[in-house]
Amino acid sequence: MIVMRRISLSLGIAATALMLCVTPAHADESAEIDKLLRQGQTAQALQRANQWLTQHPKDLKVRFRRGVILADQGRLNEAIVQFAELSRDHPNLAEARNNLAVLYAARGEFDKAQRELEQAIASHPAYATAHRNLGELYERMAKQAYDKALNLNKTAPSATENNLSRLALMRGLASESTSPQIARLAAATPTPAATPPANKTVVTPPPITTPSTTVNNLAPLLKSPPAPPATAKTEAPAVKAEPAKTEPAKVEPKPTAATAVKPSAEPATPPVNPAQQAEEQAAIAALKAWADAWAAKDVNRYLTFYAPAFRTPKGESRSAWEASRRVRIDKPGQIEVEILQPVAKTIAKDQVEIRFRQRYRSSTFSANSAKSVLMTRQAGKWQILEESVGR
C-alpha cells in the first residue's frame, strides 16, 4: 500500500525521549528484530517477533516492533489491533497512541485518529511528534471540510495520500533512545506566527444588491398627459405602454433557456486522438442507452448503468438509493427522456465526463435541464460513477 510505504520513510523522526519507564527485559530480542529489518528481511523479522511473543506475550518492545512491521506491510487492521492492545495495557504509552492515530488516519477515520493523538498529548504534553501529527491531521480534516463546503475534488483521491504521508509513524519507543532530544525537537516545532496585522484581509462583505428606491415606480405611468393617449410618447424607456406581451403560461423552469438553445457546433477542439474519441463516443452511447432504459421504465436495466462505486446523491446506501429510484421511475404514465448536445471529455484513463441537456417529458411536466455525469469503464462497459444537475 502506497500510503504506508511513504509513512515508513519517516523513520528519521524516530526518537523523542519521553520519560517512560520501560524495563528492557529482553533487549536483545528487539535488537535482533531491528537487525533483520535493517537488512530488509521484513518477513523474517515478523516471524521472529511472532515466535518470541508466543513465549513472552507481554514483551512491550517486541509487540511494538510487530505493530510497526505490520504497518509497513500495509496490514492496517492487524497493526491497529496490535497498537490498540498496547495502548490498553499501557494507557500512557504515547508512541502506541501516535501510531494508532496514524493508522486510523490512513483508513480515513480522522475522528478516532484525533482522539488518540489528543490522549497521547494529554499524557505527554511535550510529545512533539504527536503535536506535529495532530497538526497534519487537522489540516487533512480541514481539507476534507473545505472540499465538502466548496464541492471540490470529487474525483481526486490523491490528495489523501499526500497529506497522510506527512503523519509520522514512530519506529521505536522513546525510552530506547540513547540521545534524549526533547529540547531540540521542541525548538524545531514551528513557532506560532505573531499576531497578524489587523488590517490584513478584513474585508466587509459587499452588500447584497439593494434595489433602487424607484422599485416599481409608477410615476411614468401616472404623470403621462391626461389627454387621450394617442401615440404614447412618454420619455420613460422602461414603460412600453402598448406591447404588454402576454406570454403563454408555460410551466417549464425558465432558467438556462438562453444557454439551452445553442445548437452551434462546439468550438474547435485541439487535436484529439481517435482512440480517445471512440471511447468518448462509446460513453455517450451508453448514456443514451441509460436514458432509453429510463424512458422505457425498465428499472433493472436502468440500474445496470450505474457503476458499483456510484456515488449516491445524498451519500445514502446503494440499496436505499436503488429503492428510491425504483419508486420514482416505476410510476404510471408515459415519459420521454432525451439526451441533447452531449459533450464528452476524457478526464483520466477510463473516465469520461459528459455534459449534456436532459429533456424530460411526461403528461404533466416537461423540463430541459443541464446535467453532467462522470462515466467510468469497467470490464469494457461504460457506467455512471457520478451524476449531477447543473454545471
Binding site: G135, A145, V202, V215, N217, K314
Partner: protein, 414 residues
C-alpha cells in the same frame, strides 16, 4: 488546549469581518422595539432547519467569544444533522486548520474558487444578521394590510435580508409563524426581462404546486410557481416566466444568497415546511426589497383608509352615477382590454341599460405593493347583480395614492 491560540486569534479577526459588517435595515427601528425582538429561533425538532441554522449561528458566536472547542462542537452537531450544509463545512475547515497553522484567509484551500468562498461568507453574514436582528415581536409588516378568510397564510420575501417570513391569518391580521433563509437571483432583484437572472419585486400568489418527483433534482423537495409576470409587470413590458419558490438539489443543503436564475430558493426542509401551508391560488407571495415593520395601530389606520375607499367605490358603482363611479379611476388607468377612455365608454354604454345594480364584495385582501408610490393590490370576490346581468368573479385591482387620493390604476379578473 494545545498551542493553537495565536493562530486562532487571526482566524477570529477573519470571521469578525462577518460580524462587523453593517446589519442594515433594522437599524431604523426604535430601541424599545429592538429590545423586544425574538431572542431565540424557535427550536423545533431534530433536523428542523431553524435548529440547524441556530447551531451554525451559535458556533459563529462562540468563535467571537473565543470558545473554539464549543464552536467546533456546535458545527459538528449541525453537520451530523446535515453534512451537505456547505457553510458549516467551511467553518469547520477553518476551525480545524486554525489549530494547525495560521490562516491567511477564510476558506483556506488553495484550489478554492474565490467566488465560492465569498458566497459562503455572504451566507454566513445574512444568516447571522437574522439572529442579530430577528423579526420584531410586537410589529407587523405593513405589506399585509388585510388577509381574506380564504388566505390562511401569507408569504413575505425580504430580498434585502435573504429571508422569507411565513404569517398565519388571524382574523385578517398576520401572525408570525416562522422565517427561513432564501436564495434569490444571481444578479439581484427587479426582474425586467427573460434570462436576466433577477428576482421580481411585487405582489404575487402561488399558482400551482408541482410534484417534486417529476422535477429535476435542482428543484428539490417542492416547487410552487407564482404568477410573474402579473398585470403590472406586463404593463412595464417585463418578460420571462417560471418564477418559482422551490427547494434545493439533493447534494446541497443551502445555496448562496444570490445564486438562482430568479427563483426564490429554500432549503429542502424549509420548502417542505412552507409547502404544508401553501394554498394554491390563494397564498399571497409578496416579494419586497425590505420589510417595513410597523405598529398594529399604524397598519390599522392605513387599512381603514383603504377599506373606506373601496366601500365608497362599491357604493358609487351601485349608485349608477357614472361621474362618481369613474372618479375612482386614474386617468392613466388600464385594464386588460384597454385604457381609461375605452373603459369609460364601455361602462357608460353598459350603464344605460341598468335600472338597478347591486354589488357585494367578500374575501377582501389588501396587500401593499413594493413600489415607489403608496400602492396596494386589492382583490375580492365580486357578486354583481343588476336588472339584466348576474355575475360572480374574483377581481384584482391596483390602487395608487395620488395627491392624497387613492385611485384605481388597474382592474381585471383575479
Amino acid at each position: 488546549m494545545l498551542r493553537v491560540a495565536p493562530f486562532i486569534r487571526f482566524f477570529v479577526l477573519l470571521w469578525i469581518a462577518v460580524f462587523a459588517a453593517p446589519v442594515g435595515s433594522m437599524s431604523a427601528l426604535p430601541m424599545d422595539v429592538i429590545r423586544t425582538i425574538r431572542e431565540e429561533p424557535n427550536l423545533q425538532g431534530e433536523g428542523s432547519s431553524s435548529n440547524l441554522e441556530a447551531l451554525v449561528v451559535q458556533s459563529l458566536k462562540s468563535i467571537r467569544q473565543q470558545r473554539f472547542d464549543d464552536a467546533l462542537d456546535l458545527i459538528d452537531r449541525a453537520l451530523d444533522i446535515n453534512p451537505s450544509f456547505r457553510l458549516a463545512q467551511m467553518i469547520k475547515g477553518d476551525l480545524l486548520l486554525a489549530r494547525a497553522r495560521p490562516l491567511e484567509s477564510l476558506g483556506n484551500v488553495s484550489d478554492a474558487p474565490p467566488e465560492a468562498v465569498e458566497d459562503l461568507r455572504r451566507e454566513a453574514f445574512v444568516r447571522l444578521a437574522r439572529y442579530e436582528a430577528p423579526p420584531p415581536v410586537n410589529l407587523v409588516p405593513d405589506a399585509l394590510l388585510e388577509l381574506s378568510p380564504q388566505q390562511k397564510y401569507a408569504v413575505l420575501v425580504d430580498t434585502g435580508r435573504s429571508r422569507v417570513y411565513l404569517f398565519e391569518n388571524r382574523d385578517g391580521n398576520p401572525r408570525y409563524i416562522s422565517d427561513y433563509y432564501v436564495t434569490i437571483g444571481k444578479l439581484g432583484t427587479e426582474k425586467q426581462k427573460e434570462g436576466d437572472k433577477r428576482t421580481p419585486l411585487g405582489v404575487y400568489h402561488v399558482t400551482r404546486s408541482l410534484d417534486p418527483d417529476t422535477l429535476p433534482d435542482l428543484y428539490g423537495d417542492g416547487a410552487y410557481p407564482i404568477n410573474y409576470p402579473n398585470a403590472l409587470d406586463r404593463k412595464f413590458g417585463r418578460t420571462g416566466y417560471g418564477i418559482w419558490l422551490h427547494g434545493s438539489p439533493s447534494d446541497t443543503y443551502s445555496r448562496p444568497p444570490q445564486a438562482s436564475d430568479g427563483c426564490v430558493v429554500l432549503t429542502n426542509p424549509d420548502i417542505v415546511d412552507l409547502g404544508k401551508r401553501i394554498q394554491v391560488g390563494f397564498t399571497p407571495v409578496v416579494i419586497a426589497p425590505k420589510v417595513n415593520w410597523v405598529k398594529m395601530s399604524e397598519r390599522e389606520i392605513l387599512r381603514r383608509e383603504l377599506q373606506e375607499e373601496i366601500e365608497t367605490w362599491r357604493q358609487d358603482w351601485e349608485s349608477r352615477d357614472m361621474g362618481r363611479y369613474l372618479s375612482h379611476y386614474a386617468d392613466q388607468f388600464w385594464s386588460d382590454d384597454g385604457n381609461f377612455s375605452q373603459w369609460r365608454e364601455q361602462k357608460q354604454r353598459v350603464n344605460q341599460g341598468k335600472s338597478w345594480v347591486k354589488v357585494e364584495l367578500s374575501n377582501l385582501s389588501i396587500l401593499r405593493y413594493p413600489a415607489a408610490q403608496p400602492m396596494v393590490e386589492v382583490s375580492f370576490d365580486q357578486n354583481y347583480q343588476s336588472n339584466n346581468l348576474k355575475q360572480v368573479i374574483r377581481k384584482r385591482q391596483y390602487w395608487v395614492k395620488q395627491d392624497q387620493d387613492w385611485k384605481i390604476v388597474y382592474e381585471g379578473a383575479g
